[in-house]
Symmetry: C2
Subunit: 367 residues, 2 copies
Amino acid sequence: MASAKTVYIGVIGAGGVGKAFLSQLAALSTRRPSPKLVLCYISTSKKSLYHADYTPLNISSAIDDLASNSVGAPPQLPKIVEYLSSVPAGSKAVVVDNTSAQDVADAYPLFLRAGISIVTPNKKAFSGSYALWQDIFTSAATSGAKVYHESSCGAGLPVISTLNDLVDTGDQVTRIEGVFSGTMSFLFNSFAPTQGAGGKWSAEVKKAKELGYTEPDPRDDLNGLDVARKLTILARLAGLPVESPTSFPVQSLIPAELESVSSGDEFLEKLPAFDALMEEVKTSAEKEGKVVRFVGSIDVGAGQVKVGLEKFDQSHPIAALKGSDNIISFYTKRYGSNPLIIQGAGAGADVTAMGVTSDLIKVLAQI
Amino acid sequence: MASAKTVYIGVIGAGGVGKAFLSQLAALSTRRPSPKLVLCYISTSKKSLYHADYTPLNISSAIDDLASNSVGAPPQLPKIVEYLSSVPAGSKAVVVDNTSAQDVADAYPLFLRAGISIVTPNKKAFSGSYALWQDIFTSAATSGAKVYHESSCGAGLPVISTLNDLVDTGDQVTRIEGVFSGTMSFLFNSFAPTQGAGGKWSAEVKKAKELGYTEPDPRDDLNGLDVARKLTILARLAGLPVESPTSFPVQSLIPAELESVSSGDEFLEKLPAFDALMEEVKTSAEKEGKVVRFVGSIDVGAGQVKVGLEKFDQSHPIAALKGSDNIISFYTKRYGSNPLIIQGAGAGADVTAMGVTSDLIKVLAQI
């Protein structure tokens, strides 16, 4: 096989996941001499660092170098495509998008058509419009460039790869169900534990924010959109042409009165007045011997996707979840009544970067 | 990339897994036009079917054709290597070993050195001597041929691929623990359920045999060797140079007095006399509020592997397992105190073949 001897890597995004990825990339390039991995581009939304002649950047110090030696604002996305598609003859290019930016996601078809493979945890490309989804996979199929996005659902947990394997080998996925948000997992495991009483809803949200488990404004977790995006991706991989993450029922846990308060802090301040609502949900489940959880589910046969609160028996694996773990159950024809289950941390910089790095390794084996 | 346009596939073994694999291969070759998949060889231990000029066999009828049009006893393994390594120029060859034969496993280095990739659920190659393990992976690295064996542990569950991803991305796997045998899972979930009393040990073994969950002689499950082989494979992938599946403590559930009785039937007949032993184990666990399960564990730091009975809290995921499911927990540095867990059916022809087919798809993408 005429594998590329050198692979040029461009990294967009240098936040928590970007840093963890670069650390894993530095170790990978030391452990595996072939193909030779060259970091040639790195940028944030405000800065960029690269050389017109593809002189390798130092992977270990790239983020510090970006801070001190940046060449200035990043080029427009088509210029980055042009740069990465002009790497020296006989070599290949991969772009690693560690952002959650829609504009970068929108440019994926450009990268792919130019023969540049993509690995990313960015959910936006795969949960945006169905037209973008089709454009991405058609562009990849045409050029032969690869696109991998394991960490777009469940971080480094083997969720996307397992679903792809089930579908690719001809199994019929009938239902996918699970807890897809580390934040929601933590909140409900604390608010409505299988053992003990649990705290008040507003107090648990406040605690989750203090522990860094929520977005800066907790409403960005409580609106359910993050879970809806992940469900959109899985449903599409299972064969449902879901139009967008807002084209199916998604239950928001933000009281209507607090939708438009101006800040996350104001939201947290006013949330206790609505504790009775969530307490009622919890008590109603308890009366049936159950606990309430925030889940997503896909009924493939019926073509239905939904996100929201559901009740589970105390012995159900979803009820027994711990900490901020995710759990994803795949019900399929081959697996019968007992689903294939994947469980574990579904958020965090290191495990998210792990999904990106293992995707990169799979791409390197194919280009 | 100069991918092979045609891939010639030789299948060794046409039992339950072989049949299920061929059915999945037929569907795959219809769904994916590229690369062109040609079944050119199929054999059991007694018969074989192939054409010297590589005329394609009919995938859908191959097993029937083997029964009626067989060219006779299969060639010696070096002859099969020679045949598959002489496929038309520009094409590639993959051998699919659906047997559990040691002699086929011993020939893997020959296949790999000849550039023939291997996909297999056969545990023997990877759990035999450490010298064979090294020979296999050195041969593959030298020739560039691929070797994939997802179904050698947990059937189609993503166990091997997940462990490889953890290791390849630089995570430190500290501990692996789980229920690795569908038979043992079924036996203990019935014998010592978390709810209800459970049956007598000998009755549960008899029932498991009647349901087809055991080997023809149940002692081949109860001796623990099947679990020990899987642990050997995982331990080696995690970096421990385990010499063989008998080089660490493995608890056999066969009473010493019944080790040498002449048949499985005689064993089952005499087993009730030893029920008190297992009842004592069960009662002792119950006194601690626990249940007993047959598990395997690998402590990577201490270099320790062991297989046998252990007690678990009723709320532990291992205790809560259902039916004949497997569960495998990976404790790693990145995942912290909550492990990455994979759970589901770990045996059965269809899900075993699924692991083989998805391995084949990965190989096809790389050769």
